[in-house]
């Protein structure tokens, strides 16, 4: 008897890729399906920890591990740079010439900060006066830079949306405010938040709440700022409409883009994100390609919580899909984000495609312990504790007991 084993190839062993291979390996019979995951290196960072490194709240060692131990048995790991996906031929080409055939493909190569896309960023002051905390090296360099900071203009700047973890720039600003106070530097520092949006955040209700927190803390907001270039000699950022914001220390969030191979494969939009059906995460162009995590164009936050909730929905759909059945589960865009607000407190946002972030309690209606859209100590502790949950339960694909679908129970419509 001949059996033809089918091949699932997953591109990217980050948060989404690791979760999905671990979950699917338990669902798919080894005699019927091989699972191969491709990544360019063996480093897995707990990316929410980048935010804490500049302030010494996490050490670099706490957030960096090897990838392999998180990938379960029965999953083949291939290390290499992806050259392109030949979707009509169902093949992935690696730069070293390796060709991987697939029956089903999952793209989970995320999004990457691209300082090369804004003129003047990669000058001699990059990772010095022009800091960033969206990479491990950047976060560590910014920690050292802040250590030497003695006051002046500290400018936090977002290049363009969407970005990974869209609340992180605000959190950085709140934490910087707190950190400066503790060092006795707050009165010598002008803290400025520069954004291409017309307010603090993308969602109106949350924008109002978060804008209020900025005002309370004496942080200046420079809205509608579309950056054209950074002038490192004059220490200013310049917008397309020729406004200038001066800095002594800049913390920029570079343009975020999907992987370049996505563009080379003809699968991406103008930012290399793969267009998909937002409820099934299936590629618009090929019905055997799915996109998980930050790599797709779904209109919700690029965040680990979204990856987690969407993987749960995807696994159920995928099992139907490979049996030739219609996919009956629908992802609702559910995201939840802890927003560090400084002074040992945090806010918690919970939203989806259709619902604005709500006030109320999470995860238990009326009880909490975490308060939605309000500052509390429990939220902050929840955020700190999540690192352990991430390494020990989320990546291995163990159930966390959080429903993937957003619930309205215990929440107060705005």
């Amino acid at each position: 008897m001949t059996t033809s084993t089918k091949k699932l190839v997953v591109l990217g062993a980050g948060t989404a890729g690791t979760m999905v291979v671990n979950k699917l390996r338990r669902e798919l019979d080894s005699s019927e399906w091989t699972i191969t995951v491709v990544d360019k290196d063996d480093i897995h960072d707990y990316q929410p920890g980048y935010l804490f490194i500049p302030f010494g709240m996490n050490t670099p060692e706490q957030i960096r591990k090897r990838k392999r131990p998180f990938i379960g048995e029965g999953v083949d790991i291939v290390m290499g740079e992806i050259d392109r996906v030949d979707a009509p031929a169902n093949q992935v080409h690696l730069q070293d010439g390796t060709v991987l055939d697939y029956d089903q493909l999952v793209i989970a190569t995320g999004t990457t900060p691209r300082p090369d896309q804004t003129e003047g960023t990669l000058g001699p002051q990059f990772h010095k006066e022009v800091g960033e905390f969206y990479t491990y090296d950047g976060a560590v360099a910014l920690r050292d830079q802040l250590e030497r900071f003695t006051g002046g203009r500290l400018v936090v700047h977002i290049t363009e949306l969407p970005i990974k973890c869209p609340v992180a720039p605000l959190e950085f600003t709140f934490l910087a405010d707190d950190w400066l106070r503790r060092r006795g530097l707050r009165e010598k520092t002008e803290l400025v938040f520069v954004t291409p949006l017309d307010g603090a955040f993308t969602k109106p209700v949350a924008s109002k709440t978060l804008g209020g927190v900025l005002e309370e803390k004496g942080i200046t907001v420079e809205p509608d700022f579309m950056i054209e270039r950074i002038d490192q000699d004059r220490k200013v950022i310049v917008s397309f409409d020729e406004r200038e914001v001066a800095y002594d220390q800049l913390v920029t969030i570079p343009l975020n883009m999907g992987a370049d191979y996505v563009a080379r494969s003809g699968l991406g939009d103008e930012l290399n994100y793969v267009p998909v059906d937002k409820h099934t995460l299936q590629s618009d162009a090929y019905d055997n390609i799915f996109v998980l995590g930050d790599a797709s164009n779904i209109p919700t936050s690029k965040a680990g919580s979204v990856a987690h909730f969407s993987v749960d929905v995807f696994v159920e759909n995928f099992m139907q899909h490979i049996s030739g059945l219609p996919m009956t589960h629908s992802f609702d865009g559910h995201a939840n984000c802890f927003v560090e607000s400084g002074h040992g407190k945090a806010l918690l946002l919970d939203f989806n495609y259709d619902t604005e972030p709500l006030t109320g309690h999470f995860p238990l209606p009326k009880v909490g312990p975490m308060k939605l859209l309000g500052e509390s100590r429990a939220n902050h502790l929840g955020k700190l504790a999540f690192r352990h949950i991430y390494w020990n339960a989320l990546l291995p694909g163990r159930p966390l007991g959080l429903p993937s679908e957003m619930s309205m129970s215990g929440k107060n419509p705005a």
């Binding site: 054209e228 397309f240 103008e270």
Partner: protein, 105 residues
């Protein structure tokens, strides 16, 4: 939502003045909308962008971002700021009768 009359057409607008129904728009509305935000006259360069926005909205179901307009029409962002000063993404969508592009989430 408020009802108003622009260029002889009865239209509904939201609290920022954007048309609430893109189907209410027609080409003769564009110069009037543009005038309301201080852009006149509309040149061929403006029209090329307005037509792109209308077509792209019809095809994609959402208003294109500034970056998308720039890459798809081959217009440098700086030039978009020249044609629709200050807030080109918002102003282009306003004149084209489309919702303002969603600030991404």
């Amino acid at each position: 939502m408020t009802a108003t009359t622009i260029a002889g057409h009865q239209v509904d607008i939201n609290d920022e003045g954007f048309l609430t129904n893109p189907d209410d728009w027609s080409e003769d509305l564009a110069p009037e909308l543009a005038k309301l935000i201080g852009i006149e006259p509309l040149t061929d360069d403006h029209w090329k962008l307005i037509r792109f926005l209308r077509d792209d909205y019809a095809a994609q179901g959402e208003t294109p971002t500034l970056r998308r307009v720039s890459t798809q029409t081959g217009t440098p962002v700086k030039a978009l700021f020249g044609l629709f000063p200050g807030k080109p993404a918002k102003k282009m969508s306003y004149v084209s009768g489309l919702p303002k592009p969603k600030g991404c989430v």
